[in-house]
Symmetry: C2
Subunit: 271 residues, 2 copies
């Protein structure tokens, strides 16, 4: 009997989703992964729900054509705006970023004061508010932080970087003005984990106490394992990673920062 | 005899090109203008020449189908990477941003030390260096400044804004480290004129003297007038402005900042 190994598909608007691939490979090391970054049309975060949905469906169709057994939407903006359409169009399970991120926040919060930072598209969608609605005692404050993405791509992420600190102070000041009791911040964008240190330090400074910082990558990997109904599998060899992108500019430079391992190569595709 | 009024076509990766429309309407107030912002695929500045060329050709085809008599490429990245392909594909004259910008810099420089700041795509193309090559005594230093675009879109453009100053200081320090005698800076991206004050003040601070700041919008309007062979025309009524975009997110909020007048509406188009 021939067992066909089907890969897990992951897509993102760009390279940020490689932070999810990293968590996925740690949780399910034997699985093959196909990654697609829509780098020709990145970012999704500033665009309308209609455009985000259209692009996301094209990304998912590309992955489905490669026989994936599960689709992970690494991009928060796509998860927040296109999940229903993606699920309707997919014969295999589709896991988004919002529900796992919301679950992580609930596990981390002490007093229920949760902040979500992300792109304009994620914040405008109200997806995190919906995911956390009906939880007694939970208050959600959401804020778009557009400068965090280019900061992460410039590599100005050090906790003592003057620009990074000035940008973080500007956004987090507005956040704490809206709710001074925030105790947990969800990094609702795949780029933001690279800025975790400066966000955490600035939040502590402004709040006068520790603030939990959670991202959805680990929770997404867990959700993927659940959806597949598998624990860690017994394969001795690490699964293969195939990376595709719709544009190749700067991938070699930027992608390894997100993946945390060298990337052999991206294959260029037109969608 | 019926005289058909044909419009001037202007395209850009997004809304920044409205700074060029503004200059064009000041120079040729009677002309009709059709503007297309490819806001669904913005930015071009971080993408490869191949992708920029493909998108630019689609934008130009849209304008040509509307019967324009001249195409202005407001986007520096598209001008720097796609001008030959666009000219080859157009039956009407095509004016880019680079040559007018270079001419403005030559007119402004005292000692020939010219800096060009723009997107990664513009800087990597070497287009400004080529436009200024062979000018005796001219030295060109080019630097990509990716954070200036989201800064302008956030509206953090005030000369005393802490974040804007920190970002400008970071980039301009690198520029003056490469050539401490820079006396002229070309704003080689349609977003940057909104940051003119903070760029100018920071350059003066770092150089210890005034530094000329030039942009290509006015020079492009002049080049358009030359290409049409017209001086100011005698029409009493201002020309019409029709604006199209491939995505509508945030246009109402951002576009007027660039155009300097209210915009009645954008029409959404698929390319």
């Amino acid at each position: 009997m021939t067992v066909v190994r089907r890969p897990i598909g992951v897509f993102d608007s760009g390279v940020g989703g490689l932070t999810v691939v990293r968590a996925l490979r740690a949780r399910l090391p034997g699985e093959d992964v196909v990654y697609l970054g829509d780098t020709a049309r990145v970012p999704y975060g500033s665009k309308s729900p209609r455009t985000v949905e259209r692009y996301s469906l094209a990304c998912q169709a590309f992955l489905l054509a490669r026989g994936v057994k599960l689709v992970l939407i690494a991009c928060n903006t796509a998860s927040a705006n296109a999940l229903p359409a993606l699920r309707e169009a997919s014969p295999v399970p589709v896991v988004g970023a919002v529900d796992p991120g919301a679950a992580s926040a609930l596990a981390a919060t002490r007093d229920g004061h949760i902040a979500v930072i992300g792109t304009l598209g994620t914040v405008r969608s109200g997806a995190y508010e919906r995911a956390l609605a009906g939880r007694p005692g939970v208050k959600v404050t959401a804020l778009a932080c557009p400068l965090f993405v280019p900061l992460a791509e410039e590599g100005w992420t050090d906790g003592s970087d003057e620009v990074a600190r000035a940008v973080a102070r500007r956004y987090l000041t507005e956040l704490f003005e809206r709710d001074r009791d925030i105790d947990t911040i969800v990094l609702g964008c795949t780029h933001y984990p690279l800025l975790r240190d400066v966000i955490s330090a600035t939040a502590r400074e402004l709040a006068g106490r520790d603030v939990a910082i959670v991202d959805s990558a680990t929770a997404m990997a867990e959700a993927a394992a659940e959806a597949l109904g598998t624990g860690p599998n017994g394969r001795k060899h690490p699964g293969q990673l195939a990376c595709y992108a719709t544009d190749i500019s700067r991938l070699d430079e930027i992608a390894p920062r997100f993946l945390g391992e060298p990337i052999t190569s991206f294959e260029l595709v037109d969608l």
